[in-house]
């Protein structure tokens, strides 16, 4: 055993990929076996969409585009925010799931096996990102069904929109995974991750940030959701993006790095 040559670098990387892939398949199997968990998380964004369009729609549309907007304009306005809110909602599920998973003896078993150490977290993160993207597609389909249409988005813009959604999902997922690991139980994880679905309410998702009280505008404008929403809106509807693209990118990379450091530090600590 000890006389066998030390594993060469490519082998180690291929084993890391293989182990991560195994863990990912485990997570996807969970999601596939218990789809109700994922689908429940879609209820909030879909209900918000229908509520704001059909119940509040007439009043809300009066607040955008200088008062001349109708309901279909308002649908176009809120869908980008709803799509990113879907990601916020989905990753709350990830925080709860991670918290539940970490308390199981199975994770202790993984730690005593000769598997790539990061594979557990990679499985959770990639699984949650895939789940988020799938959720966005489902909610997007509902939006299209009630009349949402993009205006003149090129293939490149669609690709960029897709990339933004993926990157945003990655950032929120790492944060949610960190929250899940920091929580003593799933309930606490759910509470801790709650801001991830509340933040869109104080962003430019439903009303333009410049219609908010002056003291609040900086908060609304620079929190992670608003730049990402404005960028997505620009890509799909051709509105001005300005420097929101860069701010959104910076938020995504910053949150990803932060969540990654936080989660791995917690995972590498001795378990209780």
């Amino acid at each position: 055993m000890s006389t066998s040559p030390a594993p060469t670098r490519p082998t180690r990387i291929s084993l890391a990929v293989r182990d991560s892939n195994t863990m990912l398949r485990r997570n996807l199997l969970h999601a596939w076996r218990y789809p109700s968990g994922t689908l429940n998380l879609l209820l909030t964004p879909i209900m918000m969409l229908l509520l704001f369009v059909y119940i509040f729609g007439d009043v809300m549309s009066a607040g955008i585009g200088g008062g001349g907007a109708d309901r279909s304009d308002y649908i176009a306005y809120i869908v980008p925010g709803i799509l990113l809110m879907t990601i916020g909602s989905t990753v709350i599920g990830a925080a709860v799931y991670v918290s539940m998973d970490m308390s199981e003896g199975l994770i202790a078993r993984f730690r005593t096996m000769a598997v790539y150490r990061g594979s557990v977290l990679v499985g959770h993160v990639v699984g949650s990102v895939l789940q988020s993207v799938a959720s966005v597609v489902l909610v997007g389909a509902v939006a299209v069904a009630i009349g949402f249409r993009s205006t003149d988005a090129t293939a490149l813009e669609w690709l960029a929109a897709f990339g933004l959604i993926t990157l945003f999902a990655l950032a929120l997922t790492w944060i949610a995974v960190g929250m899940g690991m920091a929580s003593p139980n799933p309930e606490a994880a759910s509470n801790m991750a709650m801001p991830l679905i509340l933040l869109p309410l104080i962003s430019s998702a439903f009303i333009p940030a410049d219609t908010m009280p002056g003291w609040f505008q900086p908060i609304a404008e620079y929190q992670p959701f608003t730049p990402a929403i404005e960028t997505l809106r620009g890509l799909l509807l051709g509105t001005g993006i300005g420097n929101n693209g860069w701010i959104a990118l910076a938020w995504c990379l910053g949150l990803t790095a932060l969540g990654y450091r936080w989660s791995t530090a917690q995972f590498n600590r001795d378990p209780k």
Partner: protein, 322 residues
């Protein structure tokens, strides 16, 4: 020294661990020859699980020189991990997926080729009598089935050293005997088993060597027979229901050990027929009529209670029952 470590599956010296200011393991030495069953015996909270967690690389020791499967735990935990299998105290199965999927998950993590993984999984499910339940979610399994699946998963990588942390706690007597049988079979294949238990009977049944862990130190170590020799010999126990009868008997038989709470008297005896008759004659002549008479030969319980302190005896009995 080098010759002994060569044949050892586990060798630890000066193993020390504390959580905050609570010292859990106070520099213990453990030595387990390859191919044997070693049992770490102790009451709840003695530090058994901590010892297993350290030896199985789950947590790090504060101090100590530890070699498992010939590998240094501190410098090469990955090599240790590929030599060991661990079945912890709390079920380490994935309840959301089926028993078979759990097994295939382990096969994948051990990097077995697809076909071999399927074969190993099917064989172990068969061996642990889980074939019928293989397609059901593990969360629907009974306690005994979960433990069997847990152990089956541990065996997927064919580990040479297996840690079992209280493998039969919470199992009914039948499942417990099944588990014992399984553990014996493992050792007949040359595997080393490191077992923790709070059941003295279990250590007596299975272990080649037993170490009694108490307050973070090894209170005694040896074979079951060696440990039994530590405590005084057997006795005849007389129990009374009437306190008055107990008192008069206690004063009539002066050379006995009294247990006032249980209304019981203990007369030293090796349990042979001749000695027993002598005791009975003596009781008759003293006019003592006990409600219950039992003969005790020394067992590990006596060792355990002798080593872990008589003052705490009643508490611990209760804890063990729970």
């Amino acid at each position: 020294m080098t010759t002994t470590t060569h044949a050892s599956a586990i060798a630890a010296t000066g193993l020390r661990k504390s959580f905050g200011d609570k010292l859990v393991l106070d520099g213990i030495d453990l030595y387990v020859p390859a191919g044997t069953i070693f049992s770490l015996l102790g009451p709840n909270g003695a530090g058994k699980t901590t010892a297993v967690k350290i030896l199985s690389t789950l947590i790090t020791a504060d101090a100590g020189d530890i070699r498992v499967g010939g590998h240094d735990l501190a410098t090469d935990p990955h090599a240790v991990r590929s030599a060991i299998g661990v079945t912890g105290q709390f079920s380490a199965v994935d309840g959301l997926i089926t028993g078979e999927e759990n097994m295939l998950l382990m096969a994948d993590l051990h990097h077995l080729p697809k076909r071999e993984g399927r074969r190993v999984a099917a064989e172990l499910l068969e061996r642990f009598d889980l074939t019928e339940a293989a397609k059901k979610p593990a969360s629907t399994y009974s306690g005994g089935m979960k433990r069997r699946l847990d152990l089956a998963m541990t065996l997927v990588g064919d580990p040479r050293i297996i840690f079992l942390d209280e493998p039969t706690t919470g199992l009914d007597p039948r499942s417990r005997h099944n588990m014992w049988q399984i553990i014996r079979e493992l050792v007949s294949d040359g595997v080393t088993v490191f077992l923790t238990t709070q059941y003295l009977e279990e250590a007596d049944e299975l272990a080649d060597r037993i170490a009694v862990l108490h307050d973070g130190t090894i209170a005694a170590e040896g074979t079951a027979e060696e440990l039994k020799r530590i405590v005084p010999g057997g006795h005849v126990r007389l129990r009374f229901t009437d306190p008055a009868a107990y008192k008069s008997a206690a004063s009539a038989l002066r050379e006995v050990t009294r247990d006032d709470e249980a209304l019981a008297l203990q007369i030293p005896s090796d349990g042979s027929q001749r000695e027993l008759r002598a005791v009975l004659d003596w009781l008759d002549s003293a006019g003592v009529e006990a409600d219950e008479l039992t003969v005790h030969t020394p067992d590990l319980d006596d060792v355990f209670f002798a080593l872990t302190g008589p003052a705490r005896t009643p508490d611990q009995t209760k804890e063990n029952v729970r």
